[in-house]
């Protein structure tokens, strides 16, 4: 199959990206296997190099690390966390999270653009997390982002695609992979995002809060694949019978002829 997700020159078969902060570390391997993911995001602040419960120790070596700047409140802090991440060997990928709001955890698009600009220049493969706003997404593209990661709903909320129409604008207008991150609560919502043309979906809480974490990981994998296949197949037209009224508004044209 030739349908690959390409981010910063790297190819991925899987279009499901896993978040890692919310389930037990010893579950990580099973979740990765069941979800069949190739990329996992990790908060650098959870890295405890050489210490107890170091999240990095639980991620198989063949999985691409997407370190995130969780905890950064400004562009400057995000940049410093990103540099630290590269220094300790977490690679060139960086997911920028700049959050200045402890209640809703809404990303700060303005600071995110600034951090993206700096880090892209330094050679990072920058994947910024953002509130789906078209102008900010364009700015991220111009700043050198490798993908754009709009939120579907507030992080951890499991509310699904509340921002559906705005994400669609990004899919239509931004010439980068659009990866729906945050808020996805069920596999059906992940499927819908993929049907819409999202390049990939990321989830963590939805899997971590399931009764059977590994089984839910598998359900997400299947949903993402189904949504992608539907997108590639081209969704058929769904007829709205009311619109096919027997007395069409344009009927008068025939009388004119």
């Amino acid at each position: 199959m030739t349908d690959k997700l390409v981010i910063g020159g790297h190819e991925f078969k899987s279009r499901f990206i896993l978040g890692s902060g919310k389930f037990s570390l010893d579950m990580t391997k099973a979740v990765i296997e069941n979800a069949d993911v190739e990329m996992i995001t990790v908060a650098l602040r959870r890295a405890n190099i050489g210490g107890e419960g170091n999240i990095l120790d639980f991620i198989p070596k063949d999985i691409v690390l997407l370190p995130n700047t969780s905890g950064a409140r400004t562009a400057g802090e995000a940049v410093r966390i990103a540099r630290l991440s590269r220094e300790i060997g977490c690679g060139n990928f960086i997911k920028i999270e700049v959050i200045n709001d402890s209640k809703y955890l809404m990303p700060d698009n303005y600071e995110t653009v600034k951090a993206t600009e700096t880090l892209a220049k330094e050679g990072f493969i920058v994947m910024p997390y953002m509130y789906p706003e078209l102008n900010a997404a364009r700015a991220l593209q111009n700043a050198g982002a490798a993908a754009v990661m709009p939120l579907g709903a507030p992080i951890g909320s499991n509310k699904g695609l509340l921002t559906r129409d705005f994400i669609k604008m990004l899919i239509d207008e931004i010439n980068l992979p659009i990866i729906v991150d945050a808020g996805i609560g069920r596999p059906s919502q992940a499927c819908e995002a993929m049907e819409m043309g999202a390049a990939a979906v990321m989830a963590n809480t939805a899997i971590a809060t399931a009764k059977e974490v590994s089984v839910m990981a598998k359900a997400f994998k299947l949903a993402v694949e189904a949504g992608r296949a539907a997108y590639l197949a081209g969704l058929g037209r769904v007829l709205d019978y009311k619109a096919e009224a027997s007395s069409p508004l344009t009927g008068f044209l025939e009388d004119l002829a």
């Binding site: 570390l25 602040r45 890295a47 405890n48 905890g71 950064a72 402890s102 951890g156």
Partner: protein, 384 residues
């Protein structure tokens, strides 16, 4: 005029007074809080709400909510899971000095108490830090009593600098400081500040603090704001449940946190829930007494009002209580706790502040967390 007669609302020399309306709002709302007016309907309404309003919070703290503890716990667990996943953070306190000029009537460090006083030298502090670091902990809380002459900000700053060598996350539970002093200890390496108001009832506060700088109520009340202005990442609040009417005090602390969050949306907030344990055989007589079910009700109310806020559960509580509460609402626990001055590396240099109920070491707490299907977390902060 002796300090006993001075007004608790009057700032002493050197104490910074900031312009803030949060204190008057909190005291006003707490005074008006009539928890007996809430009915089971109000509680059911709060349970149905996605996010609690202040009125819902008032209902959840009311006696009417006692019958809904299970439903509240279910809802709280869901929120805790959404925000923290199954992470439970570990930390330990290090007392570096127990000299104190206050005589808080409920406290073991009360200046009138004939206890062994002590202060660790910087060398001793480093030895303690090294010993604690060997347990794997990365998050430390540095504590002192209040005695600026014996234990000043410069000394605390040096202790923090030493702690930076071994720990990723440093909090302090020390006497309230001015904004610039907070800025200084932030530069030294501390990022989180705990200040507990003890009680928001000013009359009780006055009785409980007959002498010493702690007597100044607004200076303590505004400490979190000064800390945030001084650049701190997060602040912790709390009341000593049982000093006064615990529902009103818990309500006030919740509102205090709520207003701080609105004013400083970037600040991380957390609650601690220390309580005075009721005496046996006296449980029916004193309405101030806080039993486990009431303590849980307070914890659940905080979690539901501010699902994103931290909740720490100390070793004042029994292992059984702590082990269960971390699965429901608390997201941070202490382990390997000593409440004497020093005592990790060598013999304690000063007596304990209170008696702990959970002596388990880090390995035991780690195992307990795992056995409950949760994840012990040693570090969740990167200082850049």
């Amino acid at each position: 005029m002796t300090s006993r007669e001075s007004s608790i609302m009057h700032h002493l020399e050197g104490m910074e007074a900031i312009d803030s309306d949060i204190m008057s709002k909190v005291l006003n709302m707490a005074q008006k809080y009539d928890y007996n007016q809430y009915t089971v309907r109000d509680v059911e309404g709060a349970l149905e709400r996605e996010a609690l309003s202040v009125e819902d919070f008032a209902a959840v703290l009311s006696p009417a909510a006692a019958a809904y503890l299970e439903q509240l716990a279910q809802k709280a667990r869901l929120e805790t899971r959404k925000h923290f996943g199954n992470s439970v953070s570990l930390f330990t306190p290090l007392y570096i000095s127990n000299y104190c000029e206050n005589n808080c009537v409920y406290c073991g460090f009360n200046c009138k108490n004939k206890i062994q006083r002590g202060k660790l030298s910087l060398e001793e502090i480093e030895d303690e830090l090294k010993t604690i670091a060997k347990t794997g902990l990365k998050d430390i809380l540095i504590l002192t009593g209040e005695a600026r002459r014996k234990c000043d900000v410069a000394y605390i700053g040096e202790a923090i600098k030493l702690a930076r060598k071994y720990f990723s996350t440093i909090s302090v539970e020390i006497f309230p400081l001015n904004t610039e002093e907070y800025r200084y200890i932030r530069q030294c390496g501390a990022d989180f500040v705990c200040v507990y108001q003890e009680t928001y009832n000013t009359e009780t506060y006055e009785k409980m603090h007959p002498r010493g700088p702690k007597r100044v109520f607004p200076y303590r009340f505004n400490a979190q704001e000064r800390a945030i202005k001084g650049g701190m990442r997060g602040v912790a609040l709390g009341v000593l449940l049982g000093l006064d009417d615990f529902r009103r005090d818990a309500f006030a602390a919740g509102i205090h946190a709520y207003l701080l969050q609105q004013k400083y949306p970037h600040a991380e907030l957390s609650f601690s829930v220390p309580r005075l344990r009721p005496y046996i055989n006296n449980s029916r007589n004193n309405p101030r007494n806080v039993h486990e079910s009431q303590l849980l009700q307070v914890i659940l109310a905080y979690r539901l009002l501010m699902p994103f806020a931290g909740i720490t559960i100390s070793t004042r509580e029994s292992p059984e209580f702590r082990d269960n509460v971390i699965g429901i609402a608390a997201n941070k626990v202490s382990a390997g706790v000593k409440v004497s001055v020093g005592g990790h590396d060598s013999e304690a240099k000063g007596d304990e502040q209170f008696e702990i109920s959970d002596p388990r070491d880090v390995a035991a707490i780690h195992q307990m967390i795992l056995s409950r299907g949760l994840q012990p977390v040693y570090t969740d902060y990167v200082r850049v």
